[in-house]
């Protein structure tokens, strides 16, 4: 056979593995998908049922009596923690990118960028460790009680400040994990902008910051959105750090931003042991359904991000004639 065909077959392992993952998870989770129906996403109830009773058959699926699976609290936890993370990460990431690209000269920029972007290389379990050992005592003892008493009348910021585990802590840790993505991508885009644009704007009487604010940043908006989607994809699927700082709530919708939560990814890890106690096996299959939902969402978000960044790259190369 020709060399190229061999190569094509070897290369096919990569797309194959993605297909195999999706197919296996779907096939495995199929009984759970049938039993849970659409209500899976809207019920706020994860209940394995009576584990000591005999399995009963309902709609062709073997279940424990009283079993009911709904992951509204996980969807809420995942979306809210990701939202908080992005609310921190976008301004901080964009600000740092602007300062790195425009205010710090050559060699120093290389070093500081390297230092800050190494944050992205730190393993997620180490973020979790730091959150658990350093951040939670700090927030739980000093910051949250103060915030809750001063912001008592602001919705979602008042109420019991909790112990430090919860939505806001998870959001902060997630923000730290995704912020380097935004900074690195936007900094590259800013540095690659033509100097003439900035010079022309300054010649018209704008300050350097105004040139950045009104000319460069609007031109790189597409990159910022693409990078935000990349960050979103990473935050949605983040497991260990969230597992260690979120408080692992079960069947509980967050009441304020200090409430314990759980996310889809963290829930899979924290619940597999107890799901294995279910003799009908439906709990493990419902976890597979969560994994499938999470997989589809992250893949969609990530693909959207890549397409946006690619489209921006094409536009830049066509606009820059000079």
């Amino acid at each position: 056979m020709r060399f190229r065909n061999w190569l094509a077959i070897l290369a096919g392992v990569l797309p194959m593995s993605l297909v195999v993952i999706l197919v296996f998870l779907t096939v495995y989770a199929w009984p759970a998908i049938r039993f849970n129906g659409w209500g899976f996403a809207f019920r706020d109830m994860w209940n394995l049922g009576n584990l000591y009773a005999d399995s009963v058959t309902s709609g062709g699926v073997s279940i424990q009596p009283g079993a009911e699976y709904g992951i509204l609290f996980l969807i809420a936890g995942t979306l809210l923690s990701t939202l908080i993370a992005l609310m921190f990460a976008i301004p901080v990431g964009a600000g740092a990118a602007v300062f790195l690209a425009e205010a710090i000269p050559g060699q120093l920029r290389t070093w500081i960028s390297l230092f800050v972007e190494l944050l992205a290389a730190i393993p997620s379990v180490v973020f979790g460790l730091w959150g658990y050992v350093v951040l939670i005592p700090f927030l739980g003892h000093h910051v949250f009680p103060f915030m809750s008493s001063t912001l008592d009348l602001v919705p979602f910021f008042g109420g019991p400040p909790g112990s430090g585990y919860g939505l806001l802590t998870a959001g902060i840790v997630l923000a730290m994990m995704v912020v380097p993505l935004i900074t690195a991508t936007l900094r590259d885009a800013l540095v690659s902008q033509p100097v003439a644009l900035k010079e022309a704007t300054i010649a018209l009487g704008a300050t350097r910051f105004e040139a950045i604010r009104y000319i460069l940043l609007p031109r790189t908006r597409g990159v910022l959105i693409g990078a935000t989607f990349l960050a979103l994809g990473r935050a949605l699927g983040e497991t260990m750090a969230v597992l260690m700082v979120s408080g692992n709530a079960l069947n509980y919708l967050p009441q304020n931003i200090y409430s314990p939560i759980s996310t889809m990814a963290a829930f899979i890890v924290s619940q597999l042991d107890s799901a294995l106690q279910d003799p009908s096996g439906l709990a493990v299959k419902s976890l597979a359904e969560i994994a499938l939902v999470l997989c589809v969402i992250s893949v969609a978000v990530n693909a959207a991000a890549r397409l946006m960044l690619a489209a921006w790259g094409r536009r830049l190369s066509t606009v820059e004639g000079a």
Binding site: Y28, F99, L119, I122, T207, A291
Partner: protein
């Protein structure tokens, strides 16, 4: 900042200071300050994390940690160090041939439909959360194939995670090789195989090796995909690929920090130091290699 004191050419030919509205001055100053503060926040957090990892890690890192296996609430991490090495190298062994093949195909046959499919799906595969990979490994290999918690299951899942990274870095490295070299080789009558294996690959090797190193860093730092595929073992690896669990460093961080014993916590800090130190070292080296080879 400098433009707050900018000058313009006045009517009489002398330079006069530009009068700026105070709102513009203030918004410019505020803008720079907040951008600077953002960068300061980011570096501060990095310092804070590194401080915890290195200070607590070095005080926990003793020779016993590196030379003995885990025993109950204390002991050492030799089993976990060995396990991390076995799992990561196993993953690389599986991922490198396939990842490089797909990278080569995407770069060298970029005009073909299959190449664009592979390239796009590599990006998509990067986006699959690692816990989903882990659960897939649990469902298929641990349960369905009956391998139980094992080296094979853990290494295969890690390999799938590494695949797209190796594919992308191989592709980028090959794209840096100038097209004229390929044309020259083809003009001399070389076949596809010879052009790719003997001309392009050697030229792109530094970039590809860097990509493989980065993939190694990723697999050393992963936890979630291993929890339900590799399991955990307090003993040294017995050499079996299936049916026997294996320890690894990131598990030690996650579990031992929750134990109420100072000796167990110390193991977690030591493991965090080993993992973080290794991963950061690889990333710094990779950054400089990539800079030199201009990728």
């Amino acid at each position: 900042m400098a433009s707050a004191s900018s000058t313009a050419l006045g009517r009489n030919g002398r330079r006069v200071p530009i009068k700026m509205r105070w709102t513009r001055r203030i918004s410019t100053m505020l803008g720079w300050t907040s951008c600077g503060l953002a960068l300061l926040t980011l570096s501060g957090l990095m310092v804070w994390i590194l401080e915890m990892v290195f200070v607590r890690g070095f005080s926990a890192l003793t020779p016993t940690v590196l030379t003995t296996v885990t025993q109950g609430r204390g002991g050492g991490l030799l089993n976990a160090i060995e396990g991390t090495a076995v799992l990561s190298l196993g993953a690389l062994l599986l991922a490198v041939p396939f990842g490089m093949a797909s990278g080569i195909y995407v770069a060298e046959y970029h005009f073909s439909h299959w190449a664009s499919v592979i390239g796009f799906l590599a990006d998509v595969l990067v986006g699959v959360p690692s816990i989903v990979m882990g659960y897939f490994g649990y469902v298929t290999m641990v349960e369905w194939l009956g391998w139980n918690f094992s080296v094979a299951a853990g290494a295969i899942v890690l390999a799938i995670i590494c695949l797209p990274y190796i594919c992308r870095t191989t592709e980028l490295a090959l794209k840096q090789v100038p097209g004229e070299i390929r044309e020259a080789a083809y003009a001399l009558g070389a076949s596809d195989r010879r052009v790719i294996l003997r001309i392009c690959l050697p030229a792109a090797l530094p970039g590809i090796l860097t990509g493989i190193l980065l993939a190694l860093a990723i697999s050393v730092g992963e936890t979630a995909p291993l929890l339900y595929t590799a399991g955990w073992s307090s003993f040294m690896w017995d050499g079996h690929l299936t049916h026997s669990p294996i320890g690894y460093l990131t598990y030690a961080i996650w579990t031992f920090i929750n134990e109420p014993f100072a000796s167990a916590n110390a193991l977690a800090y030591a493991a965090a130091l080993l993992v973080t130190g290794f991963v950061l070292l690889i990333n710094v080296v990779a950054r400089f290699t990539l800079k030199r080879t201009n990728i």
